[in-house]
Each structure stands twice: as C-alpha cells, then as structure tokens.
Symmetry: C4
Subunit: 299 residues, 4 copies
C-alpha cells in the first residue's frame, strides 16, 4: 500500500511514436463572432461583444501562429464556416503556416439542437467555406459548443471525414462505427479523439455578457496548473491529452505568454508525443483497433 507503487497498465489500446506514454495536441477553436451570435442572437446589437469575439481571428490567431512557430509545434485549428468567410486572412495564415484546418460547424450552432437535415446543411456549408479558402475539404470535425448529436457521426462518416473530436468517454482515441451496433464489417467508420471540459480555456477565462458569466476570471497560472495536472496524470496512466484554446481568449498577450512557456515545457518532455489531431487520427487507424458502436442508451 504505497502511492509510489508500480502501476498496472490495464488498458493502453494504442501506442504512440517513439514509445511516448501520452499523445498531446494543442488545438484551437477559432469561434469568432459566430459563438456569440449562435448562443445569444441579440449580441449582434453589441459592437463591444462583436469586437471581443473578432479579437480572436484579428489579433489572437497571428500571435498564436508566431508562438507555435517559436516552440516548433504543429496544431489543429477548428474554424466555423461563417468565421472563415468573415476573416479569410486568418484562415489563409493558418494554412500557410502548415497547421491543420478542421471543421467547427458553419454558424457555430449546437448540432444536438438541430434536425438531421439542418445538421447536414451546416456540415456541407462549413466544408464548402473552408474548401474555397484552402483548396481542401476538412478531414476533422469538432461540434460547436462541444455538443455532438447522435446523427452526426454517420453524417461525418458518409462524407469521408477521418475523425471527430467532440466526445468525452475515453482517454484514448478509438474507432467509432456510427451505424447500428454491431455494424457490418466494411461499414464506414470514424476516429473519435475525445476531449473534456477541464482541458478548455473557456471555463477559465470566458466572461461574455448574455452568453456566459462563469464567475471570476482565472489567472493564466491557474489555467496552466489545471491543464498540466491532467497532462501529468496522462503521462502516468497513458492517453491522449487534447487541449483547446480559443484565440479570442488565449490570444491575449498575458495568456499567450504563459501558454507559450507551457508549450515549450511540454515540447521538452520525452514521454509526450505532440501532433495535430489529423496525425493522431491516422496513427489510430494504422493500429486498427476494433471499432466500437454508438453507446446503447436510447436518446
């Protein structure tokens, strides 16, 4: 009975390059104005709120791209189609810097609140917007407000998406077979790269009247302490650590400076493999874990 006792490794379904215990990805959700407009349409009247959101693509993205360059990290940026069309320069800069651009809805509306036709429309409209700007259709998807519907995995698989990153039921990526349970062999599948609320800057920093007033804005030191504690846990237990930052929040100079130091620290950890989500998804597919159906609970 000792805290330092050796730990069994009951479940390590995947192996990472270089024998790393833990994969890590520094992802970004470039919400911009759409996040406020979808959550509270009345914020359209507020120039203050609109500019608060615009700070992300206007200023934050550039600063974060500089930081990623300095620390030598490649990342994934999830961009709603509406935001991409409003700030095409930010999207082109991200692509030019060699990072992955992925899908984050069109109007940043929660899929779980839409019927399947509306979901498909938002999905295709968002892919079209990104393709027009970058020449490529996105291969990764993350649900706006992290609120994936039951129908979306099939919609994604049908369209050839490689992965989704919106679910919360595992420490490791897995292969999801979104048809009925026990789907026929050869059915289209999707990699799921799980996230969780503690690894998000929104709950630490976001104050947005009429949208979210989560209580005292935390210091960057507090946020990084939290994210680091979860990373350390994953280095111990194995897993895939996915951090999400929003440029309209973490692009601010003070937060960005602390995030840069944190990224630089993680980049020195020999037991951590840092990669964009697309590479993590491919690495998962290569190992061909048994696909998993949707949960059995009836919605």
């Amino acid at each position: 009975m000792s805290a330092a006792a050796d730990r069994p490794h009951a479940r390590a379904p995947l192996e990472w390059p270089g024998g790393a215990r833990c994969a890590a990805s520094f992802s970004f959700d470039v919400d911009g104005e759409s996040a406020a407009l979808a959550a509270a349409p009345g914020t359209a009247r507020s120039l203050s709120v609109m500019t608060h959101q615009a700070y992300g693509p206007r200023v934050g993205v550039g600063r974060l791209l500089d930081i990623l360059d300095r620390v030598g990290v490649r990342s994934t940026f999830f961009v709603p189609g509406f935001t991409a069309e409003l700030h095409p320069g930010a999207v082109r800069d991200i692509a030019a810097a060699g990072h992955e651009i992925a899908h984050h809805g069109y109007h940043h509306v929660r899929p779980a609140g839409l019927d399947p036709e509306q979901q498909a429309e938002q999905l295709d409209r968002g892919s079209d917007a990104l393709e027009r700007l970058t020449g490529d259709r996105p291969l990764g998807y993350r649900a706006p407000m992290w609120d994936l519907s039951w129908e979306m995995p099939a919609l994604l698989a049908e369209r050839g998406f490689l992965y989704d990153s919106s679910l919360m039921d595992d420490d490791f990526p897995y292969v999801l077979s979104p048809g009925e349970q026990g789907a026929a062999e050869g059915a289209r599948t999707l990699v799921e790269i799980p996230i969780q609320w503690a690894l998000d800057d929104w709950e630490q920093y976001c104050f947005l009247p009429d949208v979210t007033e989560l209580g005292p804005i935390q210091t960057p030191a507090h946020a990084v302490e939290l994210w680091r504690s979860e990373l350390d846990g994953m280095r111990e237990h194995g897993g895939c650590w996915v951090l999400t930052n929003h440029p309209f929040l973490s692009g601010r100079p003070g937060r960005a400076a602390v995030l840069e130091r944190f990224m630089a620290d993680v980049a020195t950890m020999s037991d951590v493999w840092i990669a964009p989500l697309g590479e993590i998804a491919r690495r998962t597919v290569e190992q061909a874990p048994a696909p998993r159906g949707l949960p059995r609970i009836e919605p």
Copy 2:
C-alpha cells in the same frame, strides 16, 4: 487565550476502532448518464453529454478500483439502478473488488420532488436492479442530488435498510427514528451518516452545459486542499469525514493521480479510521446511541 490551548471535547458520542479520533470514508456516486437525464431531460439529445457521463462507469470506475487496491482502502459506491443496468460490468467489477455497493435511486431523481408512491417505486426498482447484478439487496442509501425527502427515512427503515447518507446536521453518525417524534421503543430505526457539500468533487470540477455551470473548474490541488482542511478539523474535533467523488469527474487521470496521493496520505494517519459506510453504520449501531426523531420543523 491561545490558539494552541487544549481543546475540550464537549461531544464525542461515538468511539472509533483503535482509538481513532476520526472515521473517514472515501465514497463514490456512480451517477453516469442518469444524473444528466434527470436534471435536464433534453441532454438525451447530446451525444457529448451522454459520453461525458458514461466516462464514469466506462473508464473512471476501473481506474479508481485500481487506486483503491493500491492504497488498500475499501469503499462504498452508490449506483443508480438505471446506471447499473446500462453498465453492469462496472457494478460487477466493484463488487468483485470487495467494495460495498449501495443505493442511489433508480433514475437519479430527487426524492424531495416526488410523492411517497413514486419514491417507493424508485427505491424498490433500484434495489431490484442492484440485486439482479450482485445477488444482494443494498443496505445503504444516498439520495440523488443529496436531496432526501421527509418520507424516505421511514421507507428505508421499513425495508430494512441499515443506513442513509444524505443529511447534513451533524459531524457524527446517529440513529434516526423516522416515525413521529418520541417513537415507541422498538420502532424501526436507521443509521444516518451525514455528508456536506464541501466534501464533494461536484462543486470543484463539474461543468455540464444545461445542468450545472458552476464557474471555473478547480485544480485537483485546490480540491484536495479543501477536503484535507475539513479532515484536519475533524481530527481535531472528532467526527466522521465522508468524502464523495464521482467517477465521471474524479476518474480523469490527473484528478485520480492527486486523489491517490491524498488517499495514501490519509491511510498513514494513525488517528483516522478508514472504512466503507456500511462498517461505520454497524459500528454506530453497536454503540447504541439514543435514537433521534426527525427534526421538529413542519415541512
């Protein structure tokens, strides 16, 4: 007038094994999907929310069982019947590891919001679900959302439950006589093992859109500092310290690692007796403290 002055021990109604000043229990509420569904039925539409909740029985329980094994602590897991049926493997694993399985409602609905017939139905349905899986009817009960009704103590006593752990008016367990005040000698009684909000991981970690958005998610270090400060107070004053963790929250790698270190610390304290709640209840009954009626306030 000194802070270090000897402290009188005005009330120590119970004695613990080995002369410990303080009993301690690391209990778990395995809510799973039911906690979200009962609080906000619309979350059924959200695959993200459902998987966030499923993380508890799917991943968290196994990790926590490993930890309990390593630190040599036996514990009590409160499981709603609905969750038990959806995740029978988790329940069997808990039982196989030698921990106590106790009742946490069927649909995780708050008893105080139900009429007595509905309460009885939820109670029996939950007991049946657990018995089918483990072979035993549970002896302990904790109200979903920690919201016990005035009728439930009698319902529990009539069914032969040994204890409830949902009330908040004492530092020590006590014997509750749920009939009218001054109930006749020989009436059925129940042990009450009190809890309190500061000894719960929900208020530190839970962010669940449409259910609870309690403000900035805290670090595990902050949570453990809070729980430890209350434990230290009880070591000074005497009492029974009952911590509650939720596997969907504290089963995450970073939180689990910090919790393991904390458990290992407590396990070295010679003035603290760690036990499952069922053993604490039996220890209480053995000392036969005078039973107490329900509070006099008219609901």
Copy 3:
C-alpha cells in the same frame, strides 16, 4: 512617490479604546432553516436542505462558542425569531456565554421586499421571540439577506434600537437620523455599523441548491486571506472591520479550526480593538458625531 510613504489620515471620525487604529467585530448570523425557507419556500420539502441549515444552531453554535471562549473574544449573534423558537437551546447558550444577541428578522425575509406594515410585524415578532428566550429585547438589528429597506431605520429608531448593521456606505460607524434630511434636533437616531460583502463567509462557502450556487466552494485559507487583507487595509486606513460568519457554514470543523487561528491572531494585534457590535455602537454614540440623514436618492 513611494508605496511606503506616510499616509494622510483624511477621515478618522471616531477614536477607539487604547488608541487602536481599527475596531473589529466577529459577528454571526444564525440563519438556520429560515434562510432557505425565505429564499426558496420549496426547500421545506427537502430534509437534506433543512438539516444542512439546522447544522448551524445544532452543532456550529456550540463549537463557535467554545472557540470564542478559548480566544477570549466577545461577539454578537444575529438570530431570526423563527430560528430562535426552533432552537431555543442555542440562543440560551449564546446568552449564557456572555455574547450579545441581536435581531435578524423573524422569517429571514428581505425587508426591502415588504411593505412597511409587514416590516413592522416582522420586527416586533422577532423582538418578542428573543425577549421570551433571553428576557431582553434586542438593541441591534441586521437585515435578513443584508437587504435593508428605506423605511426600516425609522421603524428601528422609533422602537429604541441602538444600532443597525446592514448598510455599506462607510468604513466607520455613524449616527443615522432616519427622518427626512436635516431632521430636527432631538429626533430619534440610530447608530449604523456598516458591513460589506467581502467580509461574509456566504460568498466563500455557501452551496445550497435552489437558493444559491455561487461556484466552487473556497478553502478556509482563501476565505481568511480575503478577510485578513481587508483587515490589514483598515489597520492602515482606520475603520471598523465587521466580519460575518454563519454557523451552518463556518461551524464546520475545518472552517472553525482556521477561523479560530485567525481570531487568535487578531487578538494579538495591539492596533485592533475587538468588541461586540453593541459596544462599538455605544462607543460611537459617546463621541457624538454629527448625525447623517438618509441618502438623497429617491427610491
């Protein structure tokens, strides 16, 4: 231009015994069940909530009385009449220990939400309840929920109350003339001993479903750091520091232990005069500062 420069003492309208720079009072609001019932009547159905509130008079008051005795501090306890009638032993214990018992409404309803007749009824009913238990009518008043009405100062003055402690517009006590502005000499007046939200344990510790869910419960160390920083400011600037704790919150063993150490610290500060509010009020009256009318703003 230096932070260490001597500070002018622009306004020190009152002097404290022994040349202390700062008066201090450790006051308690013994809300009990009434605080929950008044804020959310439906909590009457919840035995968990009722017992959470009952912890204050049942357990917390006794522990806090022991602590006050050990650190040699006399205090003021504000008790709603309803709570006094439900827990008469707690009230008698407070009085027997030599502390001041003051008025905190009858049903703990916010005066600002009542018409003047209802306010008077709550006021007299509360005084009657306390007088029946202690033999004395209370001389001090604090509004439930710290929500004083415009009419209450006159109602208090007419009844011969010595002081109120519910307003927030000064660092020092003052004499309030609750009639119209420039009230005639000789009109009844009242001492006002101001409070403020940062000096209250409610905003640090209170989690009460359906009543208040203020975000992550803080550690006692955090709470005391906040209270201490304000005390240090008042030692620098002069003033009257009034802390309010609720026995249902700060009577818990861990919080009480930290509070005891803090009280013991303050008791060693030679520049701080600790007293019950009644003594502070009398000390104010003796210095006969010019009375002040109600603010000019039209409600």
Copy 4:
C-alpha cells in the same frame, strides 16, 4: 525551439514616449447607484444596495485620489451623469486633483439596448451634467456595461469626442472612421482605446444581489496577479494596457492598499508609459495611423 527565443515584433503600429514598449492607464468607472438601478430597477427599494453603490463616490473616490497622489499617477474617471449630479463633490475633487473626467452615459444604460435617439439623448444629457460641474464637455467616452452600439461611434464623432474606450478587438489604440467602410477622406474619426474583461475589477470582486452574483469574491492578491500577468504580456508583445477599477469595489481599504502597491510597482517600470486615456488618444492621433472602418459584420 526555446521559450526564451527572441520574439518578432510583427505589429507595433504605435510608439510610446521614452521608447516604452507598453502604454498603461489606471482608469476608474465611478458607477455609483446608477449601475444597480439600470441593471435591476427594483434595487431602488434596497437601502443596502444603494449604500453599497454610494460607497464609491462617498468614500472610495477620496481614498483613490489620495493613492494616485502618493504614487504620482494621473488617471481617467468615467462618471455617469446621474452619479455626477448625485455626488457633485466627488466629481469636483477628481477634477481638482488634475485627473481627466470622461463620459460614462447618463443613467448607465447599455447603449446596445437603446435606439439611436435614446442613445443621443443619454449622450448629450451626460455631457451637460459633467460640463455643469467641471466647466468642460468630456472628450472621452466609455459605454455603460462596456456594451457599445453600432451607432454610437458616429454619434461620438459628430459631437467632437476625441476617443471611445469600449471595444475589444485590438491591443493598441486605433483610429476609427465610423461612417460606412472606406469613408471619404476628411470624415470625422475617433480614437478607439480597447479594453477587455480580464482587466476589470468587477469580475473579481462584484457581488450584488439581483444584479450580479459571479461566484466567490476573489482576494486582491488574485486580482493583481491577473492584471499583472496581462501587463507582463503586453510588455513583451507591446500594446496599451487599460485597467478599470470601480471605486465602490476597489475603494475598500484592503483592495485599495494592494492596488496602491501595484501602482507603485508599475510606476517604477521603465518600459511602461503611464498616462490618462486622453493623453494616450492624443499620442495616437499624432502618429496618424490609417483609419479603420467599422467591422464588416452586419448586425
């Protein structure tokens, strides 16, 4: 790949006196009663709330003026017209101490919730109130609740205002041309000095029943750590750091003492130029950066 690597200075559109990397302003929003009355008119019934707000102009302003004098900092105070008329002495004291007095609405209502005529009426009424007290019409404006409308920039420019300080889309001040995009040369412009939510004491300290209950009140040490981290980020990246304190919050002795030490620290930093906002605006105009139109998003 090192955190200490030299940082490119991609965008430093403005230069500050003495070669400072960062401009800084300690601004104050003297809301007083109007902030509560506009957000929740029912608070007019509460003498406690009204006095809580009155603390700002009654006590806080004087203390903060003393502090500014001791640390040798000149500042900008935004005062709603209603508050100025209710507390004229505070406004005269601010002016007499040589600080800038600027416009903060008349009734502290959010412009984004008003039609253009109402906005103009609030604007002119507020200017009239300040001019009657100080002899000067204000040259700077900040929207109540930091909620600027799309129409207000043109209303301000038409009236000859020098600057606004309510938007959030940049680290540096800029020149805003509020007419249609690509406004004709010579059209009236306005300097915008951006702010952001993390540099505000409201989110750290404000607890105001029925108006805002943001969670546990933070310590002054926490607030200053947050503000300092953003200042350090701006010293690294360049920018204009604008802190906002409310005298009803930060005028309290403990918070004021910590703020004074922080101000004194910043005053020793050779890479930071501290100035009132009006001077920062003039410095911006002198460098004649290319004007920017309103964002393209259709409200």
